[in-house]
Amino acid sequence: MKTLVEDYDIVVVGAGHAGCEAALAGARLGLSTIMFTVSVDSIALMPCNPNIGGSSKGHLVRELDALGGEMGKNIDKTFIQSKMLNCSKGPAVHSLRAQADKQAYSNRMRRTLEETKNLTIKQGEVTKLLVEDGRIVGVETFSGAIYNCKAVILCTGTYLKARCIYGDVSNYTGPNGLQAANYLTDSLKELGIEMYRFKTGTPARIAGNSIDFTKMEEQFGDERVVPFSFSTDPEEVQIEQQSCWLTYTNEKTHEIIRANLDRSPLFSGAIEGTGPRYCPSIEDKVVRFSDKNRHQVFIEPEGLYTNEMYIGGMSSSLPEDVQYAMYRSVPGLENARIVKNAYAIEYDCINPRQLYPTLEFKSIKGLFSAGQFNGSSGYEEAAAQGLIAGINAAMEIKGEDMLILDRSEAYIGVLIDDLVTKENHEPYRMMTSRAEYRLLLRQDNADLRLRKKGYQVGLIDEETYLKIVEKEKRIDEEIKRVEHTNIGASKEVQELLASYGSTLLKSGTTLAELIRRPELSYEAVAPIDPDRPELPYDVMEQVDINIKYDGYIRRQMKQVEQFKKLEARKIPQDLDYAKVGSLRIEARQKLEAYRPISIGQASRISGVSPADISVLLVYLEQYAKRRNNP
């Protein structure tokens, strides 16, 4: 029998948010790339909530954009509402969130992929990985076709052995009734890869014309929309926006749920996967937070192409009849018609400690993975990993240095480091509290942090890069000028201070000192700063933040210095931990299992103590000296 055999550089398995970024990155870096999906019509599908961004996730999108990813550009073209969250808080936690038109989002991404050189889209299920001498050489599909390649990026999302469940109904499908991928897990297990089984869930979709919006609070988008992408012209995103709606559950809702808990597959044990604590189903919330007499419910449009509404806050796996009863107990949903039932979904994923921070498997060269397959959750987390995996697959094939962002450089770095270094027993969601240097990792400076890296990798063109270099220069110059501009206690100055309720000057000070006052800002002191040059908004914003929070930023930068030292101490990958005599047993086992690439990474593994790190440092010194003078 004749079999189809084709050759590619990179095979991407899956066309969700991770797969799309991975395939685009690979192809844009000049490598022939093929992307497999079980359904071409589900490219960049948003099977759960209709938003991109949100607290800390918005950061991920901006970082991805700065590096040359697609998600930011795609949502800027397809959003129907946008908000900057946390505006009343510090600049580090400002975060963009947009409501997407799901179909438009998916369509535009598909078109972008189609128009990308070197990229082939193929409907088909990859069933087997072909590995020779510890290196990936190709994949086999369900039809028996062989695709030879130099790298594979697994982005299977929630499709591996997927099962959707509500009540006692259980369907062996992926999200939204799509075909599951039932064979790849076995191939992975045969290759010695450790698998986990995770669970997540989604609420019902309800027909918009069955909802009484007069009983709900209307939620508007921002008056002035800020785009996600640094490349998008801000004027282009000032569109007419759609509203979301807020309503609440009540005691009646909770009673219905409590009375039917025994029929939930979660409580009966029919679901075995581990679910996320941060995204609890409504039945979970009612049980765990029984003191709360109501929970918020956000009604969000799925897009302009449909009247379906997403019922945020009420994901569930209760039986169909209970779902009807509980949704209809919510004000405004009394006559709700459910278009799609809420369900929980279980799927296979990996224990991500098997990966290097490059997202390459430690045990199989050329095999990379990204997204929910790595135990994360969320479109943005997936896309960010997809981009890094795509870049690194390309770098490896080209024989160039792979890209690792560390925890002080990007939320993406925090995300990946957490995945590959910490014990992870539930789908991992990005949170701003996970970023210890978050004052430095702001969404407003993602371009300054990462454009250069994107340029070095080859995803950012020279013109864009030079713009950033120029921006950096202008910021530095302006900060210096402001720090050295003296301000006397003139009448004009005192009047300005008085108008802001700020303490009057007794003696001279600098402009920078005034900007540091909480009630003032760079903008506020403009009238007493006659020599101020004409600067674009984004430069002024950086000047303001950097001066205003100078003390805090400096402190974090000092911590980063210490952190970087430990990251720079690399650990040879062939190190035999059994030979490091004084390590405690627990530490030895953990180090064996994780094989950290640096002392810094080693120090973040739970069960490795500071004393173990000291021991390791001494051993490495001895090891290096022995190597140099055998």
């Binding site: 709360k292 910490k422 949170m431 004084s582 021991v615 001494v618």
Partner: protein, 457 residues
Amino acid sequence: METTIAAISTAMSASGIGIVRISGPEALEVVSHIYRSKGGKKKIKEVNTHTIHYGYIYDKDELIDEVLVMVMKAPRTFTGEDTVEIDCHGGVYAMKRVLETVIKNGAKIAAPGEFTKRAFLNGRLDLSQAEAVMDVIQAKNEYALKSSMDQLRGSVHRAIKEIRSNLIYHIAYIESALDDPEHISLDGYPQELLKIVDKEQEEIENLLKTASDGKMIQEGIQTVILGKPNAGKSSLLNLLVGENRAIVTDIAGTTRDILEEYITLHGITLKMVDTAGIRDTDDIVEKIGVGRAKEIARDADLILYVVDSSTPLDENDEQIISMLEGKKAIVLYNKTDLSPVVDIESLKTRTGHPVIPISAKEETGIRELEEKIKTMFFSGSLTFNDEVYITNARHKEALEEAAASLKLVRQSIELGMPEDFFSIDLMNAYECLGKILGESVGEDLVNEIFSKFCMGK
């Protein structure tokens, strides 16, 4: 390795001289702030390397101790870095004060085994010594952890736990609101937080006072009484305690069920280990198991082994005798009021330790025991590990840092900074306090957020 570290480098007996050792690029700088020569003119930064200087250590204007200061500049020092050693003459208290003053002036308390580690990393030790260096680090660390935990009073332990749990709750609250601003509001919260911060600050200040009074940890010679059932351990303990009346007890904390008792003999403090076991059952080995008894024996500075002279040695005795090897121990030949069946001479040879005949019942021999302990201590053969002295200084350092962090939170609130700035310093305070309990942060925050606050979707 750019920090400058300090520690007490000699195990001290009550009468000895203690050395505070400082190593690192700032070593001379630190000492220059606190050293004054007799005439007041000598500048410690300008003296020749490898010279010794007589003078005084001052904490600002308070005289702490009369000292000899040895200055050794890099690279010909143990660690390969600039090193200053201060020989303190004023005993344990003065030595600890000198260490504290050094820390106040910019040095950091050395991590366990850190001097040795630096010596190795700076090429001052032979490659073949690597194994030994690693062992020292691990052993010292273990001891430091133990002394930190064992010596922390139950009440202090509880107080710190409580402060920490309040802090993490509020950090989690702020962080939940940042992650899910549409569900959780921070309106009016800063004023509430201010009250919390002030309260916790006060708690920490109280603990700092406790630490300064030396009451936060109780130092002493870790002493364990071993013996088979009915050998007379509890009578001995009662006798020692009763005669001295200088008992300090501390009700067990939630994490430990060991009752600690401190006995002071002629100014020497014995910390009696696991006295609860003895009091309850008179059978420490049976109650806690042989494994744990061995562990206790291993960690003890002094073992008092009570032998029932009226019954033949049995399996229990054999086990205990094997635990005495290489340890400081005194064998108490008890029940001399009854007719002995155990030969006192062979007991001496078998155990290799001094044997003192006593009768706990008739209260004879106790004086001799006390004399023996005193002689052992003052001759220097009985000491306790220097990590013990450092423990208190480490706790103080951590408390001070926690207090400073809370001060920063207060400042941020008063300045009207956004809420996300508060949690940075709150977290730092939480982490510092954790060091005292030997607990790291790990996933504490994320766990607290998920368990206490109902998040989105």
